[in-house]
């Protein structure tokens, strides 16, 4: 086993705070309550912090380091199709696409949620529908994200959930690395 420091503390705290906040708002808190709003603002603040960190943070946190080329996306999918094993030290190409998807979804949810509290958009139907449909899209995306993490951990032999807790990726010795 070789170990690589992959995720800095900001990334990990962001990830698990977002997990907690989204779960609270989607499944636990009353949609019409004050707490729902405050947790929503916290989610937006977290995402904005992540966007800033994606520009000034360390290498694996930077958008420039993990925005994938189309060819890289298909290389990863070919590896999956043939069950070949290669590890990515940062975000994998498909993982990166999921991150952009989730970050964008969180911003749309936060913005439409905020609009529902303003006089101008209070009770406007399309705003409410947008909020709800993107929440549903985010929930489905999260299920896909978790499933992909489990499947990719099994395919490559790298324990990805543990890396997001400890910040360290443990890579089996015979595994090839991408880049």
């Amino acid at each position: 086993m070789k170990t690589f420091k992959t995720w800095d503390p900001v990334i990990r705290i962001f990830h698990w705070s977002l997990v907690g906040a989204f779960t609270a708002n989607a499944l636990i808190l009353d949609d019409d309550g004050k707490a729902h709003q405050w947790v929503g603002y916290a989610v937006v603040a977290l995402v904005l912090l992540r966007l800033l960190w994606g520009v000034i943070g360390p290498h694996t946190a930077r958008f420039a380091s993990f925005t994938p080329q189309v060819s890289e996306v298909f290389e990863q999918m070919s590896d999956m199709a043939t069950r070949r094993k290669r590890a990515h030290l940062g975000h994998s190409p498909l993982g990166a696409l999921m991150i952009f998807n989730l970050l964008a979804a969180m911003l749309v949810i936060g913005l439409s949620g905020y609009m529902m509290t303003t006089n101008m958009f209070f009770g406007v139907e399309w705003v409410e529908e947008l909020h709800e449909v993107v929440v549903f899209w985010a929930e489905i995306s999260i299920v896909a994200h978790v499933a992909a993490v489990v499947l990719e951990s099994r395919r490559t032999g790298v324990n990805l959930p543990r890396a997001m807790v400890t910040g360290v990726k443990s890579v089996p010795d015979d595994l090839n690395l991408v880049k």
């Binding site: 298909f74 070919s78 199709a81 043939t82 069950r83 070949r84 590890a87 490559t156 015979d174």
Partner: protein, 177 residues
């Protein structure tokens, strides 16, 4: 499954993403219309029809993902295809892989083996231990009913000479030429 040059995995991937978003939207809409009635709302024709449509769309997405994976597997195994003969041989090989029910990993290992790579080379290319490759090879030989690499190759080459069914693979080849 014949003819690779014209297949565009990029377009297929975009289609999958767009259809996935549509499927999620319609599923959400069905749930909205069902409201507190939940499953009982399916007695309403409109809700039932929309639910069935959404599920069909979802099934199509899953089918497309499967097909994309097959396409990528084929592309990966045919990367350095130069001649029509190589393409014809590859069709015969794929036919056999399918008949033997090889798993995707076994197909990959078998493909490398046929190209003459050693166990160590295959292990390095696939990022696995040599023992894993050996167990894949055992599975391949068992499913094909042969004793080893030589017999496997003979079986495949033999398939090239049996053209009654193989003729169907030759027609698209002529079109391509």
């Amino acid at each position: 499954m014949t003819g690779t040059a014209s297949k565009k995995p990029g377009a297929l991937l975009v289609l999958i993403l767009v259809q996935a978003f549509c499927a999620v939207f319609f599923l959400w809409d069905v749930m909205q219309e069902a409201g507190p009635l939940r499953v009982l709302a399916l007695r309403d024709f409109h809700v039932a029809a929309e639910a069935v449509s959404a599920l069909c769309l979802l099934a199509a997405v899953l089918f497309e993902i499967r097909y994309l994976m097959t396409l990528l597997r084929r592309k990966a195994h045919l990367e350095r295809q130069i001649s029509l003969a190589a393409g014809a041989f590859h069709d015969v090989i794929l036919d056999h892989f399918e008949r033997w029910n090889l798993t995707p990993a076994e197909q990959d290992v078998a493909s490398f083996t046929i190209k003459g790579l050693s166990i160590a080379e295959i292990a390095a290319l696939r990022g696995t231990a040599e023992g894993t490759v050996k167990s894949h090879l055992n599975g391949i030989y068992r499913k094909a009913g042969v004793a080893g690499r030589g017999a496997l190759l003979s079986l495949l080459i033999d398939g090239l000479f049996q053209l009654p069914e193989g003729a169907t693979t030759l027609i698209p080849l002529q079109k391509r030429a």
